[in-house]
Each structure stands twice: as C-alpha cells, then as structure tokens.
Amino acid sequence: MDVKLPNLGEGADSGTVVGVLVNVGDMVSEGQTILELENEKAIAPIPAPASGKVAKVLVKEGQKLSVGQVILTLEGDGVAAPKEPAPAPAAKPTAAPVVPVNTAPASIPVIPQGVPLYQPIETGLPPAAAPSIRKMARDLGIDLHRIRGSERGGRIVMKDLYDYIQYLQAIAFSPKPVAEAAPGVPAKPAPESIDFSKWGTVDSEPVTPLRRTIARRMVESWTTIPHVTQYDESDITDLMALRKKYKDDYAEKGANLTVTPFALKAVVKALQLHPVFNSSWDEVKEEIVHKQYYHIGLAVDTEAGLLVPVIRDVDKKSILELSLEIEELANKARERKLSLDEMKGGTFTISNQGGIGGGPFTPIINKPEVAILGMARGVNKPVVVGKEIKARLILPLSLSYDHRIIDGGTAARFITDLGKAFTEFTDEDVKLPKK
C-alpha cells in the first residue's frame, strides 16, 4: 500500500522532512512514527497507517511534502489498515476536507494554502455548463473558467458552483500573512539585503520554518495590537515555603513542584475576577468574545525557538495535575513533538523567565489573546513587614495587554489581584490527597 502524507490539520498542508525514521526492509507497526515533518508550527511525527514491511521510501530529508504525497510503500497485507486514513496526532479527529468537492461541510472548510484547488483552467473553450448555471454564475459574478466541473467531461453543475462559493468563503476567512491582511496601511518599503561582509567575516544561517512563523506572528501582534506593559511585584516567600514543604511529596508522584503551576492558578483566579483578560477581540465583527474556559499557554524556550503549548482547563485541575502536565508539555516542546492541537485554543499566556534570570521585560501578546504575563526571576529584597524590614522573595511581574479593549485601570486592578493571588495559596491548595 502507498502511505501518503495525511492531513495535518488547519493551515498545515505541507512541510519539510526533518527525518525519515525507517529504511527499506524495516518492519513497521501501525502507529509507529515513520517520518518527522517540520512545518510552520511544529515538528509533526507521521505515524504508519498500518503494519507491514517497508518496500520503498520515496522521500528524503530536506524534501518538501504536501498532503497526499506518497511517503513510502508498505508490503504485505497492511494489517489493521484503518478505515479512515490514520490521522497524524497533529490532525484534528475531524479534519476539514482537503478538497471541498463532494462534501458538504457545515462549517467553513479549511483550505490548505498552496494547494491549487481552483486554478483557472485554460482550454480555450467556453466552460462546460448548462445555460442555467452560466446565468447563475453571471448573476453572482463568478468566472466559471476557474471551476473544474465534477460531471462527465468536466461539466459544471450546480453543486460545483456551490462548492466553489464555499471555497471562496473559506479563503476569505482564513488567516492571511500580515503583509496582505492590512489594507489601507501604507506599503512598507521593500526589505533590503545588507552586505555585512563589508565590515568583517560573517556566517549566514537559513532560518527554519518555525523561526519564520515566530517572526511573522511577533510582527503581526506588535504592529496590530497597541501594547501597554504594566509592572508589579508579588511576595512569594510564603509560596516558596509551601513549595518546599510539599516538594518531596510531589517528587514521589513523579512531579517537579515549581512556581509555574501556582502561577497558572493565580492567573486563572485573576482572570475570573477580570474576564476581559480571558477574551478575544473579533476584528471583523468588532465584538469582544468572552471565553468560558481557561486554557493557559506556557511559553517554552526550545533550541529551535519559542513554542507555546497550551494547558487546558487550568481551573479544573489540581496543582499536581498541572505539575505533571507542564513537565510533559515542556518536554514535548523541547523535543518538538507537540501537535498543533496542543498549541491552539489558549486564552492567556505566561512567559516565565524565572529559571533563566534577568529582570522584568515586556512580553508580546500571543494574538488572538489579549494579554500575556511575564514572570522574571524572583529576588530577595528588603521589605517592610509590619514595622520591621525583612528579606522577602519578590517576584517581578509584567503584564502586557491589548489597550484597545483593556483600559489602564482594569490592568492595574488585574495585576494587583494577580499579585495577591500568589500570596494566598494555602496547604489546602497544595497538599496531596491521603491514600
């Protein structure tokens, strides 16, 4: 059987082969990773859709693949070949159809970019379609030359016209690169390439797709969202004491108790008090979309670059569950094994640089979220407690927010409540249930 590149989910129709993990003659079992594919978002492991012996490998490292392309062929009976093409872990279980023809998606179908579904067909002949269809196309202003008919001889029928309209709608609503997406913005001067070797020896390093994505998203966020950063500090001396007290219990469960799960919980508490921070700004409808769930993204520093896995339903999870999940996702991020789904749907992001060092910074909002919390390294500072000066561990917080929908006062109140939330953890929050 031919093993083809499966649909990887939204916006991921192609990628570059990072590694081929099998050779000709290898026996593979269903679900075994056969290929690693890097695209804009992540490295996606591609599993074998069935068991069998590898007869041919048709791709190599560095090669660009698109959905549907044959990766390798398997010999033998193709045991347990699934009825549906096996989705990659990265794929949504109900991935939108690649080709909208002959499907009737209830929602807007996702159109993989770069797939020339509807190219103008140049035959030199008028489109094969009944006069009634041509009339309708003319009424709608649609050029039938761009539609490939599904009937015998390429005849265009009503369904093809409907599918094409849905396709156009899907394109209209799919995210565009920022450069195209901002009509009315004066055209930027074309980028220039500077010859730095004039001033000394240089090395050039081609950037990875991931880096390009990071760059694009940062620019988009920075140039489209008016950012304000609000600073504050929180006294986490007591919190660190709690952490120390329960660290070993957590270690027994295989969890490393850090400040991060507390930060997640503190953030959710503040979000519940100030729901606008858990919203998105719908620029088309000009509406604020409040989310009734708390999925918090964690910025993870990896060798390849910044990745943001999302921890879902933080409000419903215990400190222990969060600890385990944070570690799992951070590891996955460093190994570039995160699926696209694991990086989507966040409502707020935390960037914790405490483990690295440095003072407060101004994080950039992870669009379409509206705020992001930066955590710097906690430092011991002299603090007046009662009438005494005591050494307390002070955590610098920086909150960048979208000033279009969040006002300064709201931000100040949010960060105050957030800082307070860090100081209000008790044994009840941390201690593990008795066996």
Partner: protein
C-alpha cells in the same frame, strides 16, 4: 408639439424588435414599438425566412412527385398557378403578422407605424401617416435590421434584376435565371426557381459556394444543385449588366474567358447591408463600424448609454434567432440584470435540398483556430429512417473535444436537418459529452437516431455502421 413619454422605445418590428418589445413589456416596462411597414415581423416574416420557406415547401412537392416515379407512383406534370401560389404564401404571412400584432396588443405594447429618426440620445421623432410624433424615452433599442445589398453597378432600375425581396414575389417564372452570389439565400431561391422550371446559373466569386458549413456537409447539396441547376460557376466575376430588350445582358469573367450572355432575370444575393442610413444616428453617440453596422458590446450596449442595438443592424451573423436572443439580452441589461451574449451558440440552417444545419464549432473553424478536435460521422445510408424517406443523402457529424469527450459542434446534412439540429444545440449548451448522447435512447425509426449513432461511432460501437477505429474511453 406633444411629447410622448415612455420607458422603452424599440425601433424596428422584426424578430429582434418585437421580441425586445414583448419581453420588456412582460417585465413591466412601458414600451412603444416603431415599425415603418404596415405589418410587424420585419424581413424575416415578410421578405425572408417565412415566404422563402413557404415557397420551398410548395415547390419541393414538384420534386417529390418527380422522384416518386421510381417508387411506382406517377403523377401528371404539375400545373403551376403563380397567382394562387402567391396568394397562399401571402396568407401565411398575413396570418403570422396578424398574430404578432395581437400579441403586441395583448401585452399593451403600443405599436406606432412610421419611420423613426433620432433627434438626440433621448428623443425619437416618428413620421407617422398622421404626422410627426416625438417620443422621450429612458432607453431605446435599435432593431432596424438589414436589406439585401444591391451595388449601383447592378442597380439598373429594372425589376428583372432582383434581390431576394423581388425574387420572393415570383411575378413570373423566368426561363433563365442568373444568381449572383453562392450564399445560402441564393441557393434556396435558386432551388425554388429550378423546381418551377427555370434554368438556373450561379455565379460565385469565391472558389466555393455555401461557405461557412464544412465541405462534407455541402457535398450532397452540391450534388442536388448540379442535377437541378444549369450551371454553378465558382471564381466567376460579373463585370457588367445592362438591359437588353426583355432580358439582361451580363458580362462575366469565368474560367479565364469573358462570357457575354442574356438572362431573363438576375437575382443579386451577395450579402446584406444594415439599415442605418437616415435614422439620425449622427445625433446620438452611437458609433458604427466601417461597414455601417452599429458597434455593440456583448451586452448589446452601443456607445450611447441610452441606446442598445440588436439583430442584423448590430452586425454578426444575420439570423432571426440571433436577433431574438440579443433582444432578451438587451432587455435584461437595461432592466438591470446581469446578462450577456457570451458563448452563445447560434445554430444555422440552410433550407436547400437536402437541408444543412450546424451549430457550435465547425471542423474548418477548429482547424483555423488550432483547436484539437475529433470528428465522428454517421452516414445516413446506414439509417433505416433515411432509406424509408428515400433520402440516404445525409450525414450527421460531431466535433468532439478528445480530452473530455465534450461535444463542441454538430453538423447535419439531410432531409429535415433543420429540425434535428436543436438536439445538438441543447447538448452543447448543456456541456454534454458524446457519451451522454450515445447513452440517451433515441426512438426508432427516426432520423434523430443518427445523432445517437454518430456519438456511438466516436466510441467505436455504433450498431448500424462499422466504425473506422475503436477509441480508448477517456
């Protein structure tokens, strides 16, 4: 002077003009239709399609009777009463013209008889028998049609030199008739006169008569013409004509020789010219091409934003059904609908014996435009129905896109080809493939079966003929 206000004025009551007026009225417009003649219907109804077909039918009977002899049925020689023939023909025209008038009345279309003249882009002056009328309108559609060309060198002021209009009057049966021009009008009228007993000679300047249709379609007709006409001269150039007694002296160059001959009558059928003169176009923004036809776009819009033009006067193929379709396009556009005369198929029928009909792409056109095609043919000698008509001299052919099997053109020569071609029109307009036609059951025994079998020929599986080759299904 009283001004009449209307939403739409249509100038010309032919098959383009009255169709436009009726359609606009059906869509709620207040319409005035201007016709300079007594009867509505234009050239088509009064001096073209209808009278010529009436005469062709009547005289075809003469041939039928002659052909019947070898089938064991013999009639005496026909007695021809020209007055009675003319009366019958006129009764057909009167009936149809009356019908058109009634349809106008029923729709509330105001028919005004008289010559129309544009005073400016928004005003039409009409010279009616009751005096001048001035009409202000929102839109005007010019549908004034065309007339047979009669160059001054042929115009002797002698009724023995006729155009089609005169020929249709058949005031006598000339012993000898020269037809200048080998187009379809000349061939149809020549057929009528030959059946009535005239010795018909055709002089065509081009190397072929009846250009437009593929040569394999004209072949059976040429055979008929050769049998029934005295002579068909191609590459023949008439140099001068003069009245000589009760005859016309014609000098022509043919086959490198100068011929000096006498004919009882001459029919000049060398084309048609638009009726654009003296209708005040110069007072509007309407522009004309170098041949005098009004320039329009595919929405039938002229260069004047208030004026549309349709039919013969707008150039292109001069056929009634093309005018009627353009009428609909113009009315739809002026009432704000997205409409256009793009990619429209205009079928053509030549009422010779046998008839030739075609639509869509022709083989010659494909060659000229370098379009890759395949041609499937079904000879009528293999059609049971054609043999029962004693008319095996037919051919059905299809021009097919070999990539998609889509039918791009159809051509038929044979008995009743004109009635058969509409299937091709529908098939092509619907984007049908040869397979679609091959798989649709056609009733037996009919001539329409030849269309199905022609499609089968393309796939190499025709029941009643041996295909030359088998084709890989695409």
């Amino acid at each position: 002077m009283e001004r009449i206000k209307t939403e739409l004025v249509v100038v010309g009551g032919g098959p383009g003009g009255y169709a436009a007026a009726f359609y606009a009225a059906d869509r709620g417009q207040k319409v005035i239709l201007i016709e300079k003649d007594r009867n509505l219907g234009g050239v088509c109804l009064n001096r073209g399609c209808i009278p010529s077909k009436a005469l062709l039918h009547a005289t075809r009977m003469i041939e039928e009777a002659r052909e019947s002899v070898h089938r064991g049925i013999t009639y005496p020689e026909p007695q021809i009463d020209l007055d009675k023939l003319r009366t019958w023909k006129s009764s057909v025209l009167e009936k149809l013209a009356g019908g058109v008038s009634q349809l106008a009345k029923a729709r509330g279309v105001d028919v005004m008889h008289g010559r129309g003249y544009f005073e400016d882009s928004k005003t039409l002056r009409v010279e009616t028998p009751e005096g001048q009328r001035f009409i202000s309108y929102d839109h005007a559609i010019i549908a004034v049609g065309s007339k047979a060309a009669l160059p001054s060198m042929f115009d002797l002021g002698n009724p023995r030199v006729m155009t089609s209009t005169g020929a249709l009057e058949i005031d006598e049966i000339p012993a000898s008739l020269l037809i200048i021009g080998g187009g379809y009008i000349g061939m149809e009228l020549g057929t009528v006169y030959a059946s009535l007993g005239s010795q018909v000679t055709v002089a065509e300047a081009l190397p072929r008569v009846m250009t437009g249709a593929d040569p394999d379609l004209t072949r059976p007709v040429l055979k008929y013409l050769k049998d029934h006409f005295k002579e068909i001269r191609t590459g023949a150039k008439v140099q001068s004509m003069a009245t000589q007694g009760k005859q016309i002296k014609v000098v022509m160059e043919y086959n490198g020789q100068k011929l000096d001959e006498l004919y009882d009558k001459v029919l000049v059928s060398i084309g048609r010219v638009p009726n654009c003169i003296d209708i005040g176009l110069e007072n509007t923004k309407v522009q004309q091409d170098e041949k005098g036809f009004i320039k329009v776009n595919e929405r039938q819009e002229t260069s004047d934003p208030f004026i549309y033009a349709i039919g013969d006067v707008a150039g292109g193929i001069m056929l009634a059904h093309k005018a009627s379709k353009e009428a609909r396009v113009a009315v739809e556009v002026l009432t704000g609908e997205a409409s256009s005369f793009e990619n429209m198929l205009i079928p053509a029928v030549v009422y010779t014996d046998p008839e030739i009909a075609w639509c869509g792409l022709t083989e010659e056109e494909a060659k000229k435009k370098d379009i890759k095609i395949e041609v499937a043919k079904f000879p009528w000698a293999a059609s049971g129905r054609a043999l029962t008509y004693d008319r095996p001299d037919g051919l059905t052919k299809m021009i097919i896109d070999p990539e998609t099997d889509r039918i791009l053109g159809m051509g038929i020569v044979g008995h009743n080809a004109g009635e058969l071609i509409s299937e091709g029109v529908v098939a092509i307009e619907m984007g049908a493939t040869a397979r679609d036609l091959a798989e649709s059951i056609h009733p037996h025994p009919t001539l329409s079966e030849t269309i199905m079998e022609c499609a089968e020929m393309y796939y190499g599986t025709s029941t009643h003929a041996i295909p030359r080759k088998k084709r890989e299904e695409s």
